[in-house]
């Protein structure tokens, strides 16, 4: 018998009698009075930065102030922000060509107020490595794309198809050395989320 069949047979004969799946519906109704404020508080507490902005120009100004795309590589996957990026982005580059990206600006599907994360899937990124290999990461979401909890996040995701997707909550971090928090372990040293007031 193959290991597969041996394992399945052992599991089948040793498993306890059937137990039902519990109802998790009630959790889906938990919410915050002010989701945006909650999101802002949590993301800030875990080392990220939030900018509430009312148009794309404000985002451009903030990016330009900190990143001179003439001198460092700024990758933008958001057409509205082409102007602050270093050069046109080649979709599906060899990941290794991304090693010198200073700032990557990506769109995200939505934010989650309870933990400060954003949900992204690979088609927003060009390459799965983008949000990890860059030195700094920025994400844009619109204010109406904010959910309260992870339960609602999965209601949004439901049965959508993706090859790869992730919740990203703040900069890469570690506390492995005597529990001192250090931002920028392998991935980005900072994470900024722009929350756009209305859909422009």
């Amino acid at each position: 018998m193959s290991s597969r069949d041996t394992i399945l047979a052992a599991v089948a004969s040793n498993k306890p009698e059937a137990m039902p799946i519990p109802d998790i519906e009630p959790f889906k109704h938990i919410g915050y009075d002010d989701v945006l404020a909650q999101y802002e508080t949590v993301l800030t507490a875990i080392g990220g930065a939030v900018h509430r902005v009312s148009n794309w120009d404000e985002i451009k100004t903030i990016v330009k102030e900190k990143y001179d795309s003439q001198h460092v590589r700024v990758l933008s996957l958001v057409p509205e922000l082409d102007e602050v990026a270093t050069s046109a982005y080649e979709i599906n580059p060899a990941a290794h060509q991304l090693a010198d990206v200073e700032l990557a600006v990506i769109k995200a599907h939505f934010g989650v107020a309870e933990n400060g994360s954003v949900w992204v899937t690979e088609e927003l990124l060009g390459h799965r490595a983008v949000p990890f290999i860059c030195q700094h990461l920025a994400a844009v979401i619109t204010a109406d794309n904010m959910v309260d909890t992870m339960h609602r996040a999965y209601m949004r995701i439901a049965d959508t198809q993706y090859g790869w997707g992730a919740f990203i909550a703040g900069p890469s971090k570690t506390a492995d050395i005597e529990q001192s928090l250090v931002l920028g372990a392998h991935g980005p040293r900072s994470m900024t989320v722009f929350v756009l007031d209305q859909q422009n």
Partner: protein
């Protein structure tokens, strides 16, 4: 990696030699436990979430074969190659086979307690393959030639000066550097080089979804993603108990996991791998290694619900003061002490005795495993099977005899109190195991029995 025949008590003795370190270890873990409490108290639905998680896992265990088959079919349809390993040996062979097929002698790995359990690094090393652990804490213990001492915080037992020395020796930093920021930066630079040059990356799995065939990997550092997205081949290894029924159940578990582990609202990266990226191979190894046997042990099968948050270790008074290595098994602490005897009763007979049975572990467990009850039950099984550690056996027999006889019990109490009062040196010495690392309590002037007798007769 040291193989050892020492038991928990002897290994704890070694750890306890450095009293200052014991205090520091104790306080650090308690601080993490406190962070957990703070974060947990912000969710009024916490207890309901635990209950739901526990029941979802009951459902998983009672349908594990069907979920495994469903998961396999969905994962295959997604383009993932699925492998099955009956034990550690087969797991290691599968991974080695994939490396040989791809003609590589180097691999980057992100944290996976399962590969620790299977001793994968050692196995591959004997076959000439170099494995670099990419989680910072794991990299540190790897450089030190040690195993992780904690499932979430692998190098929690190390001081920053020691890490500075290791980096000086292996990564070329100046001597006497102990600044965490500087040391992390050094590791970042060195590991980035590794990520950019490895063709094969191995990761663990936190959750796998039967319904969709996807699996989720949680890290704060992003090392699993750096590895997997830059490599041509991604190998993910998981124990068969990691399945959950549906994608929506991830909501329950992701809310519980990190709050229990470190007090964070979620890990920085919760990565959902569903299909290989274009041009990439994705392999998933489903490992049994004793899990199906544990499933058949009615009293212990609940331990398979464990989501490896580490909360039971952080809160355990024995773990905090004896250190993870004293458990001489990949998963230390209370839950490790339940899982290990399932694999080898003789070798791990000491572990269920390394507990005060205070119940703190069961109270914090996010999936409501009856940890301390299971530890107690293992003791009974081990004694019955003749595996109990000798010292513990005699002490337990004396205790059992004493508790069974009221006269003996009172006499023993009186003697104990008199000794502490008139000859404290007789108790506070190295021959009394209870004095190790503890100051003996001042003895009460009279026992409850004496007090009750007196006060009752006054009426």
């Amino acid at each position: 990696m040291t193989t050892t025949t020492k038991d928990h008590a002897e290994l704890a003795d070694i750890f306890n030699k450095d009293e200052e370190r014991v205090d520091w270890h104790d306080e650090t873990l308690w601080w993490i436990r406190a962070k957990r409490d703070k974060s947990v108290h912000q969710l009024p639905e916490w207890e309901a979430l635990r209950e739901a998680a526990s029941n979802i896992k009951f459902n998983v265990l009672s349908n594990l074969d069907t979920y495994l088959t469903a998961f396999e079919a969905a994962a295959k349809a997604n383009g993932i190659t699925v492998h099955w390993a009956a034990d550690a040996q087969e797991h290691n062979q599968i991974v080695h086979g994939l490396l040989t097929e791809n003609k590589v002698t180097q691999m980057v790995k992100s944290k996976s307690m399962l590969t620790e359990e299977c001793h994968l690094n050692d196995y591959l090393a004997t076959h000439g393959i170099e494995v670099i652990d990419s989680d910072l804490g794991e990299r540190i213990v790897q450089l030190a030639g040690e195993a992780p001492s904690h499932i979430v915080l692998p190098c929690i037992h190390k001081k920053k000066e020691e890490i500075g020395d290791l980096f000086h020796m292996y990564l070329g930093t100046p001597s006497n550097m102990s600044d965490p920021q500087f040391l992390t930066e050094t590791a970042r630079g060195s590991l980035r080089e590794t990520f950019l040059t490895r063709k094969v990356a191995l990761t663990g799995v936190n959750f796998a979804v039967a319904e969709t065939g996807e699996f989720v990997v949680c890290t704060n550092e992003g090392n699993a993603d750096m590895g997997a997205h830059l490599a041509d081949v991604h190998i993910a290894c998981m124990g068969i108990e990691k399945l959950i029924p549906k994608r929506e159940h991830l909501g329950v578990f992701l809310r519980l996991l990190t709050r229990s582990a470190t007090g964070q609202p979620i890990t920085t990266y919760s990565s959902h791998f569903s299909k290989p990226r274009a041009g990439q191979q994705m392999h998933l190894v489903l490992v049994d290694n004793g899990r199906s046997v544990q499933l058949g042990r009615k009293d212990f099968r609940n331990s398979l619900k464990c989501i490896r948050c580490g909360a039971c270790m952080n809160t355990c008074p024995v773990y905090r003061r004896s250190g993870g290595h004293s458990y001489h098994t990949a998963v230390a602490g209370p839950i490790g002490s339940i899982l290990a005897p399932n694999l080898d009763m003789k070798k791990y007979a000491d572990l269920p005795f390394a507990s005060t049975l205070c119940g703190s572990c069961s109270n914090v467990c996010p999936v409501k495993i009856d940890i301390h009850d299971q530890l107690y039950k293992w003791r009974q099984v081990l004694v019955k099977e003749g595996y109990a550690p000798t010292g513990k056996k005699i002490a337990m027999q004396v205790m059992a005899a004493t508790l069974a006889s009221p006269t003996l019990y009172h006499a023993a109490g009186k003697m104990g109190r008199a000794t502490i009062k008139y000859a404290p040196f007789a108790v506070n010495n190295k021959l009394n195991p209870w004095y190790k690392q503890r100051d003996m309590p001042e003895s009460p002037k009279e026992s409850f029995g004496e007090w009750y007798g007196k006060n009752r007769s006054k009426k």
